[in-house]
């Protein structure tokens, strides 16, 4: 064999990807597939007064409509912040609740409120139009520089302060500045980064009632992490009853390291409905 150094190494996966024989999450379809369509907040911040799905549940093809109340009733845990930071005073960072389906408040446009599961994506989407969510719109906080002076968003988080972080040596830095000839103050603006892969997020969960096992296909850079979080933190199923498969993944750039609400909801709904549930767009 020629030396690997300096010689061409052809990729093993290219032929299938080039001939349309790859298998990405959205390409996986089970027998008796059902489709999930999410109802999302149109408001940056609001209180949820009421979710009325009495019409939607009777619409053609609808299997179930699940809301934040079901999440609470089933004790499904919230999404976690996978990083722990301590403030300068030694206190832990404050992490607000982020349920997979909101029941009390929504805190950004697109926050997940309910899910309609139906036999086809069209039927799920049509029924979603019939779900009426009654919101009391609240004043949103949209700018980090004003956030500490704005309305408090979460009960237990005064001044909207998650953490106040310090790296380095405050005293030594002060000393250096005190001795400096000239001190210039600038505001640094860090652009928002959007790791936007070409393959959108996707999930498809299958539940086998006889073995009580969930198999979740998801477009993930880290299926092991998804398995731990969805079992240990969200409590959807014990780890030995949850299998997570990442088939071909259409890019991630970091955005697919972490599991999102939709993966949790699809896995939970599949188990609850004793069926499969595939995430639709929306």
């Amino acid at each position: 064999m020629a030396s690997l150094v300096g010689s061409r190494v052809e990729r093993k996966e290219d032929k299938k990807l080039l001939t349309g024989r790859g298998k990405y999450t959205a390409d996986v379809t089970f027998a008796h597939q059902t489709y999930a369509y999410f109802i999302r907040s149109p408001h940056a911040r609001a209180e949820i007064k009421k979710v009325d799905f009495s019409k939607a549940i009777k619409a053609p093809g609808v299997v179930s409509v699940l809301t934040g109340k079901d999440i609470v009733d089933d004790k499904i845990g919230g999404l976690i912040a996978g990083w722990r930071i301590k403030s300068e005073d030694g206190s832990d960072m404050k992490v607000p609740p982020h349920p997979p389906l909101a029941s009390e408040t929504v805190n950004y446009v697109g926050d997940h409120v309910a899910v309609v599961i139906a036999e086809s994506l069209d039927e799920a989407r049509n029924a979603a139009d019939l779900v009426k969510v009654d919101y009391k719109v609240l004043k949103a906080v949209v700018d980090t520089s004003d956030a500490m002076k704005s309305d408090q968003i979460y009960k237990d988080i005064p001044k909207n302060l998650c953490f106040d972080w310090l790296l380095g040596d405050r005293a030594k830095v002060k000393e250096a500045f005190d001795k400096a000839d000239k001190v210039i103050k600038i505001d640094l603006i860090n652009n928002r980064l959007v790791p936007n892969a070409m393959e959108p997020r996707a999930a498809n969960a299958d539940y086998n009632p006889s073995t009580e096992e969930i198999t979740l296909y998801t477009t993930s850079q880290n299926p092991h992490l998804a398995r731990i979080i969805i079992s240990a933190f969200n409590g959807v199923a014990p780890e030995n009853k949850l299998r997570v498969i990442a088939p071909d993944v259409g890019g991630g750039f970091g955005s697919k390291i972490y599991p999102y609400a939709e993966e949790v909801v699809c896995s939970w709904a599949a188990k609850k409905n004793r069926k499969t549930s595939k995430m639709g767009c929306g």
Partner: protein, 157 residues
């Protein structure tokens, strides 16, 4: 909310197909969901990314923005229809050889677009290739090797 069904007759990759589908069925949905040809990808569903490009009567189009019923009687070619007698199309070979793909999600659309280009311009310049592929977005490769692959394919087609 009853669904109106409509008959769609197409020739897909050389095979005549007749299906009754909801009238609003997009070509991309028709191919992926009704024919199980999942090589055609949907990246945006809004005509921006080009992952869904297929050929209709020899021209490349974005299949997420065409109604299947509108194309009745047309000949459609998808990425699955390029392999002949087990051999990849020169464009596929060139992408493989020159590393014109990483995750492969944009690739089917990219390959279908690029073949259309070479079919009416057999020796395009770098600029012509880049201009032509403007509607195909790739987030992995940085495009250099895609352009190189199209140039290589031009010598073989």
């Amino acid at each position: 909310m009853g669904q109106f069904m409509i008959k769609v007759g197409l020739e897909v990759n050389g095979k005549k197909i007749q299906k009754e589908v909801p009238e609003h069925t997009l070509l991309s949905t028709f191919l992926r969901e009704h024919l199980n040809l999942t090589g055609t990808h949907v990246g945006c569903d809004t005509s921006q990314c080009g992952a869904c490009v297929v050929h209709v009567d020899g021209k490349s189009i974005k299949s997420c923005t065409a109604l299947a019923a509108d194309l009745n009687g047309s000949k459609v070619k998808t990425i699955e229809g390029l392999v002949k007698n087990g051999k990849m199309h020169p464009m596929q070979e060139a992408f493989k050889k020159l590393h014109g793909l990483q995750c492969g999600f944009c690739t089917p659309g990219m390959v279908m677009s690029a073949i259309d280009l070479l079919e009416h311009n057999s020796n395009p310049s770098d600029k012509e290739i880049r201009d032509w592929l403007e509607g195909n977005i790739c987030r992995c490769t940085g495009y250099q090797n895609i352009v190189a692959a199209v140039k290589e394919a031009a010598t073989k087609m």
